[in-house]
Symmetry: C3
Subunit: 291 residues, 3 copies
């Protein structure tokens, strides 16, 4: 019986890891990504004033991970733009989210139950991207473990890592913070995921890649759906990170006022939250006001 269960799990994981992402999962990815772009203050005005800038930002949100990974591996940064159907689908989503009459499409996809499903599908794509990034880097650099982690990381985090420059495209400049200084949950999870997948690729983990994909997907989906439903931006890693950083790097425990105190001198500690971590409620209000 147990053997059967394991076999079945292995088979299921295998099938799951082979499942095509286009178009359903990719569509969800585009919708959630461009939704987050619309939540950004000022993005609606930019879409009115300069549709080209708005479209470019939307493409960065949808394909930033491919662009960054291609740069890291020395390929053409717009290599992925050869997939016309993907670009057209993402462009259609961008148009519907920003310019649909009565804002109908936006209202549908931002409706919480719908959004939770889309967020779940997006996390499935994210995990697959990390695994593909690590695999791709492994192919190019057989023992380049750091390169594998970096490529998997940028594949998972995407536009967040270049948010300063994405904002610059929209005429916004916030040099006092960036995604590396203040990592959001998806960025952190991408880093840990990239490390796990690299360890799997180097045969340091006693699991098959398909099982790892399945397990990591389940973790990401449940965590992200829970966080979106609760409008929370706490991270499940907070406690363990706090202790590890305290022991290894002498970071203050809790990270509360002491952190604040320290930071004041160096970089003006900014009250800005990172992209995906901003309270959804606040963002929606902003987005509504902007229209």
């Amino acid at each position: 019986m147990e053997v059967l269960a394991v076999l079945n799990l292995g088979d299921f994981a295998q099938a799951f890891s082979k499942m095509g992402m286009f178009p359903v999962f990719d569509l969800a990815y585009y919708i959630v990504s461009i939704l987050y772009l619309k939540y950004e203050p000022g993005s609606v005005e930019v879409s009115r004033r300069s549709p080209v800038a708005s479209w470019l930002c939307a493409m960065l949100y949808c394909f930033g991970s491919y662009i960054l990974a291609d740069i890291m591996l020395g390929s053409s940064p717009i290599d992925y733009f050869q997939h016309n159907s993907h670009i057209l689908l993402a462009s259609a989503v961008w148009y519907l989210i920003f310019y649909c009459p009565l804002n109908l499409f936006y209202k549908c996809v931002a409706f919480l139950p719908v959004k939770l499903v889309l967020v779940a599908l997006k996390e499935v794509v994210r995990t697959r991207k990390i695994a593909a990034g690590v695999h791709h880097a492994h192919h190019a650099y057989h023992h380049g473990f750091f390169i594998m982690v970096i490529v998997g990381y940028v594949k998972g985090s995407g536009v967040a890592l270049i948010s300063n420059f994405e904002q610059l495209l929209r005429g916004v400049w916030r040099p006092d913070t960036n995604e590396i200084l203040n990592m959001s949950f998806p960025t952190k999870a991408s880093l840990y995921g990239a490390i796990l997948f690299t360890m799997q690729e180097a045969h340091w983990l006693p699991v098959s890649k398909s099982v790892l994909i399945l397990v990591f997907t389940l973790f990401m989906v449940t965590t992200k759906v829970f966080m979106t439903a609760r409008h929370s931006h706490g991270s499940p890693f907070a406690l363990i990170e706090s202790w590890t950083c305290h022991l290894l790097f002498g970071s203050p425990l809790g990270g509360g006022e002491d952190d604040h105190h320290h930071a004041a001198a160096a970089a003006p500690s900014s009250p800005l939250k990172t992209k995906e971590e901003l309270s959804e409620g606040v963002r929606k209000r902003k987005a509504k006001k902007a229209e």
Copy 2:
């Protein structure tokens, strides 16, 4: 008779599209480009304090389109710098424009009739660059229509697209605007040109490439010469764009006060004009004062 006329036009277009650009046309391109650099406030001071920074800016003005296109296609960004004669010619122009005794060279080339000829020659080069960029991208990505448009676009627009970073090299930082948010006429025309040449390359336009090059060159030359002569920065596309954007993207008609009103919240709407669109008169006064 008519057949003969068509044949002749075809032959002429063929010959025109095969005509070499080096050195006469390229020289005009370098002169006009570095002239625009000298019009930039502060560039004369930089040329005195740091000749290396000034030279680098001049190279970006002259070869920015090659650098950007090479980046987009994943080649070495300084690949074009292997053409020593082009670099030396551009460097000579830079030296003469910035350091010629009595500012003699600058006065000659900035003299309106001379300048109009040079501007006309520059637009010939621009059109050829767009066509070459689209063709090059078509060679690398046979069905990558978006890639063709992007490469043609950056080949036509050149340094304008990275003006924020070119300014940073001179110690100037204006994050609230960029060439994508506020497109100048040459940038817009490059975008439309890149789309046209891509359609031609994909056989969606019933004209030969040489005829398209001829027609687009004529359009660019007449428009740009007229605009330079009139010190105008209105765009011939303004009316049709205004209506298209209104219908497709809900942009306010006219783009005047309403636009201003909207933008005020998001990006502080800046009174800065883009590089090539600044009134020539104002710029000349600034450049003179700076000397």
Copy 3:
């Protein structure tokens, strides 16, 4: 007798230019580079708040020259990260300098006599990097003299050329200055060295490469050790540069108040010194206060 001396010198230069840099010289390079990172105001706070950002900055300090050269030649910017042992060594140095209990490691390596030895070893690596960069570019572009100079230059200067973006990673943004506008001694020396090595590669200099490496290394080591020992930031090129720039580029002689006067209008002349030129004493005080 004289022939013998020349032979011996040639042999010695040959042996010196073949000497392996890993691990001793590279270790010194990493230590001095990360020491300079710790001198940067705010870097200690960043190491507490975000170890990932601090590690990335350290990697940029250690491997910035490889990253830049790879970008310039169109390879993967993280190509060098395939050398796991180098990355691990640099990471160990980073950990020891920033997190060693009682700040012991930092105190040891920042102790002047130790530091002078390390600085000397670092300059040996710098010269070798310039020579290797020029040689690498020569291999790719046989007559691309400008490309050789550029690649040799970025190999010698490393992170200094992208210090604006390295600072941005730490949440600091100083757009009014950069390493090109205000070149420090190592950056200038790298430029001159790259020109010399390019001339040697093009057979315009009547010396062998190994002799040039030996002579340039001796010059760099003595100058840099002397400057570090004296806490000086004067450049040995100052006088000759001042006259050359005055004759060629009309720069004001002396570069003192007149320069200041000119710059005031354009870029707000900043009192910030560049990285490696800041008085060591002041920096140490800052670094100590920050802990």
